[in-house]
């Protein structure tokens, strides 16, 4: 199976998409961006290939074995991967204890660390036994952090800050190590964990051995200039978002992408070719980071912010443009007794108002309209956008895909397809 790959090196997340010979999506991978761009790309790509092999597996055996067993295998695979990462993190933390924890505290710290990881492992295994997988972040950094912090709080008391510090230091080390996270690395253990059901075991062997040559790769995104690719394998993220959105929703004419650090409004023609675009940058107000900052201010997870804001009935008018000032305004208003939901709704509306300006500058909102980027996962943002668009432009079909964060990478992969055809 010859494939092509698109990589989108974003400011906050790095995404990879693999397409098969028919240009259908074979696999997607995502990780958080980090200073070691090559590593971020590797991780995203590895993830995408894992997904691709599972997809091949599904194509091969779903009919005979059923999807449930495949799903189970996949969860087992994830668990193995994760335990491996936790193990590595654990080892690093012990080493770090030896270096930076004062000798008189060292023993108790190491014990606490060991206990935390023991509990994490137990929790994860218990979760695996549940029929439903818990919903959580895609990133090891995030879910490891939340488990670790929670347990550390439970057991450590006054030693909590030290543990937290250790974690902060070591999570960065783990993230910047080339870890073995590939299909071949963990599929064996995963298969063993689910008891090697015969209907998949041999297919797994074949899947492990199947060659998936990567015949072309195209990179895009904020960090694309730092990718080790020749110039003809780099495409502007604008073009990739346009083409990616077109591939997902062929009737799309307008695309709004709100990522972590920039916002783009793009118009495409019937062939997915960009006809006009506008973008903003250098200021967090109006980007995903704005909402991230607000979530931090309120000690909420990003995924909790939207649902809470959705409960607001009368969005507050936010006066500050700057993210930091908006954070302060939020605090002021809360202390004045304004409703949290309404303020949050107002903040979501504020970010969307800025997007509306950008859309207007790029030419307006045409049918169909597609919203992509990480912020499209936020339901309150979507709601505010929908309301503003219909107020100013009338009814428009608004497309949102659960995979919208991969739009840029998908576009890049399609360009890779074109490169491959030459």
């Amino acid at each position: 199976m010859r494939c092509v790959v698109g990589v989108d090196l974003g400011s906050t997340t790095t995404k990879a998409v693999i397409l098969d010979e028919q240009r259908n999506v074979l696999g997607r991978g995502i990780t958080n961006s980090r200073s070691n761009y090559d590593l971020a790309v590797d991780v995203a790509r590895t993830e995408a290939f894992v997904a691709a092999r599972f997809e091949l597996l599904r194509r091969r055996v779903a009919g005979v074995a059923g999807v449930a067993v495949l799903e189970r295998l996949f969860r087992a695979f994830r668990l193995e991967q994760m335990l491996y990462e936790f193990k590595r993190l654990h080892a690093l933390m012990e080493e770090e204890c030896g270096r930076s924890v004062p000798p008189e505290r060292r023993r108790e710290t190491i014990e606490a660390v060991t206990e935390i990881f023991r509990r994490i492992e137990a929790e994860e295994s218990a979760a695996f036994a549940q029929p439903e997988a818990p919903r959580r972040s895609d990133f090891f950094r995030d879910f490891a952090g939340s488990s670790f912090t929670r347990i550390a709080e439970e057991i450590a008391g006054p030693g909590f800050d030290r543990l937290q510090g250790l974690f902060d230091k070591c999570i960065i080390l783990v993230e910047n190590e080339p870890l073995a996270l590939g299909f071949r690395d963990h599929i064996g253990a995963a298969l063993a964990r689910i008891g090697r059901p015969p209907e998949v075991a041999s297919a797994v062997n074949e899947a492990v051995n199947e060659e998936i040559p990567e015949i072309a790769t195209v990179g895009t995104g904020y960090g694309r200039a730092r990718l080790p690719f020749p110039k003809e394998q780099i495409r502007s993220e604008i073009l990739c978002h346009g083409l990616g959105a077109h591939a997902m929703f062929p009737d799309t004419r307008t695309v709004l992408d709100i990522g972590g650090q920039d916002t783009k409004a793009i118009q495409v023609d019937a062939g997915g070719i960009v006809t006009s675009f506008q973008m903003n940058d250098r200021c967090a107000a109006g980007c995903g980071r704005y909402l991230g900052y607000i979530a931090d201010e309120m000690n909420l997870g990003l995924h909790e912010l939207g649902p809470l804001a959705e409960r607001g009935t009368r969005p507050t008018r936010i006066n500050s443009t700057c993210t930091v000032f908006a954070g302060a305004e939020l605090r002021d208003r809360l202390s004045l007794g304004e409703k949290r939901e309404d303020i949050l709704a107002g903040l979501h509306r504020a970010i969307m108002l800025r997007a509306m300006s950008l859309l207007a500058r790029s030419g307006g909102v045409f049918d169909e309209f597609t919203f992509t980027g990480g912020v499209a996962r936020n339901p309150a943002a979507v709601r505010a956008l929908r309301a503003l668009v219909s107020d100013s432009y009338g009814e428009r079909v608004l497309n949102i895909s659960p995979d919208s964060i991969y739009t840029g990478a998908l576009g890049a992969a399609l360009f890779a397809g074109k490169v491959a055809e030459r």
Binding site: T12, R34, G165, R282, C283, Y290, V324, S335
Partner: protein, 292 residues
């Protein structure tokens, strides 16, 4: 109702309501000059502001052991404090407080949680000119606090850590929020915490020096506000002052004081005493519940 006996010191309080903390000072002014009786600062965090104001005020009054005050002066966001006698605005009070803490000062650099401003004044504390940052938080105290939180460094440690830096790492992003990404990258590139902090201090210092320079000040500049106690930032500003404009502009000496963060509250208390005498108000403006 009691009145001041002739010759008895005038007791005044200054309350400075900021965006992150409330500061209060109680002051006695008499024949022999002015004396700070007490000072208290309370962080607002996410609490109701009036509660924090009362707490800061009551703590300072209690520490001073004052039963009555002749003038309660508010400053900062404290315009609506019900028991205040009068209000003075931030730059007026910082200038006055600065002059008290450092009589040679002819300008003030005030850096708080969300704002930074430079004020030029004369030898009697009159504001002659000023310049403040716009509604963009790049380089503000809050920005630094956010980064410190990310780095797991406590407020008190920022300065000393920054002072250890050997090779400061410049932050490239101007935005206070997006600079976090830079910092994340630095951490993972293995840049040491001191070097990161000093890099941020340097970029802030550049802004502050531009503010000061735009007023054409010379001589002693007093550093007030919550960030004035940050020795790393002090060093960065001093370096920026001495290197950047060498030969082109007059030398400026930056001076800080342990009570820098109280400069506004102190200035308010001083002005309160001045107005009390000038307007010949007489009587007490505030009496403690215990006495009343």
């Amino acid at each position: 109702m009691s009145t001041t006996k002739a010759g008895a010191p005038v007791l005044t309080a200054g309350i400075d309501v900021g965006s992150s903390a409330v500061k209060a000072v109680v002051l006695a002014s008499g024949e022999g000059g002015e004396k700070i009786l007490s000072h208290a600062a309370v962080r607002i965090r996410k609490r109701e502001i009036s509660v924090v104001i009362d707490q800061a005020f009551e703590t300072a009054v209690e520490m001073a052991g004052a039963n009555e005050l002749h003038y309660v002066a508010s400053t900062g966001e404290g315009e609506d404090i019900p028991y205040a006698t009068g209000h003075f605005y931030g730059m007026t009070t910082h200038a006055r407080g600065a002059l008290f803490l450092e009589p040679r000062a002819r300008s003030v650099l005030d850096v708080g949680a969300l704002h930074a401003r430079a004020v030029a004044m004369n030898g009697r504390g009159r504001v002659l000119n000023y310049k403040m940052t716009s509604q963009c938080a790049s380089g503000s105290g809050q920005f630094l606090a956010n980064i410190a939180r990310y780095l797991g460094v406590s407020q008190e440690d920022i300065g000393p850590l920054s002072a250890q830096s050997a090779a400061p790492e410049m932050v490239s992003s101007v935005c206070a929020v997006l600079a976090e990404t830079d910092v994340i990258n630095m951490v993972s590139r293995g840049i040491s915490t001191p070097d990161i902090l000093r890099g941020i201090h340097d970029s802030m210092a550049g802004r502050f020096v531009r503010l000061l320079r735009s007023l054409d000040v010379e001589g002693v500049a007093f550093f007030s506000g919550g960030l004035a106690g940050d020795v790393g930032l002090q060093a960065a500003i001093r370096d920026a002052l001495s290197s950047e404009f060498l030969g082109k502009t007059a030398p400026v000496e930056l001076v800080s004081h342990p009570l820098s963060v109280f400069a506004g509250a102190l200035g308010a208390a001083l002005w309160g005493a001045f107005r009390y005498r000038k307007l010949d108000l007489g009587g007490a403006a505030w009496t403690s519940k215990a006495t009343a």
